[in-house]
Amino acid sequence: MKIRVTVLPKPSVLDPQGVATAEAMRHLGWKNPGRVRVGKIIEIDSPDARPDEDKLHAICRDLLSNPVIEDYTFEIAE
């Protein structure tokens, strides 16, 4: 199975990478890109047939994201 975990800075945390990227978008002619946040995607390609969602949440919470500053979501493609 393939799992795709998306991690983004929480809305309450200033994301200077997102601010700088939005500024670059303005330079490219997009007048109002709005709020841009830069995060990361972690792709897991596991030989396991089905996910243990509780375990996956624990790994997202304890390792793949830092809940103080980031939110995560995941999608599972069977």
């Binding site: 800075p9 945390v13 200033l14 200077p16 700088a20 390792l63 830092n66 103080v68 500053i69």
Partner: protein
């Protein structure tokens, strides 16, 4: 007094710490590899700066799961002083031994220069040799040193006197212009609720000799030595 200086793959300030402790202060200090499972017999633990595990995933996120960190947690709960400097501060936050997190500097740049710190607490084992309001000149060298925590945590840190150092100007004034990285409330270093764990982004071990530009960083180590020897005698 015997110090443990942790060493992770990618640590790069471990030698500076060892040298300062041994040569400047004449104390015993051992490097302790991250695979060790015990820190028994050490009076204090230093988690040094660097780029543990290449800062992969997040600064300190992988180091916090190194075997030695379980022993550090146990020692910290028993009251052993633990000092995290720079990447060490990031690791202690990731490990949950200190609240909050260190995020990308507001200006995005890696900053390597001398800054001024205002000492905010002189009741901890790391600051007891100083006076509140005292100004220290110590270098910083980091890209992710912007301290973040929610408002409730910041209020609690302030209310409990757990902010050890704030960025200030040369006159000791804490203001936005003296904040190098966007840290909330100009926070440069914080203590845990027991007061025996300190995390700080500036590098006191790089400021222990006047020929290095400043010897103000000595205060942190001399406080630790004084407070520990005071307990023994």
């Amino acid at each position: 007094m015997k110090f443990a200086v942790l060493r992770f793959p990618g640590s790069n300030c471990d030698q500076d710490c060892l040298r300062s402790l041994r040569d400047t202060f004449g104390e015993k200090a051992d490097p302790v590899w991250h695979k060790e499972t015990s820190v028994a017999g050490y009076d204090a633990i230093i988690v040094p700066g660097g780029f543990s595990f290449g800062d992969y995933l997040r600064c300190g996120a992988i180091a916090r799961y190194s075997p030695v960190m379980a022993a550090v947690r146990e020692a910290a709960l028993k009251g052993t002083p633990v000092l995290g400097i720079c990447n060490g501060f990031q690791i202690l936050c990731e490990a949950g031994l200190l609240p909050g997190a260190l995020v990308r500097n507001r200006g995005l740049h890696f900053i390597c220069r001398q800054v001024f710190l205002r000492l905010e607490n002189n009741t901890s084992p790391f600051t007891c040799a100083g006076a509140v309001g005292q100004t220290l000149r110590v270098p910083i060298a980091h890209g992710e040193g912007c301290y973040f925590a929610d408002e409730a945590t910041l209020d609690a840190l302030e209310g409990d006197g757990r902010i050890a150092f704030r960025y200030c100007d040369e006159t000791g004034a804490v203001k936005a212009a003296a904040n190098p990285n966007g840290s909330l409330r100009n926070i440069a270093g914080i203590l845990n609720d027991q007061g025996n764990v300190l995390g700080m982004m500036p590098h006191p071990e790089r400021a222990c000799e006047t020929r290095l530009g400043s010897s103000d960083g000595r205060l942190v180590f001399s406080s630790l030595i004084e407070s520990t020897l005071g307990q023994v005698s």
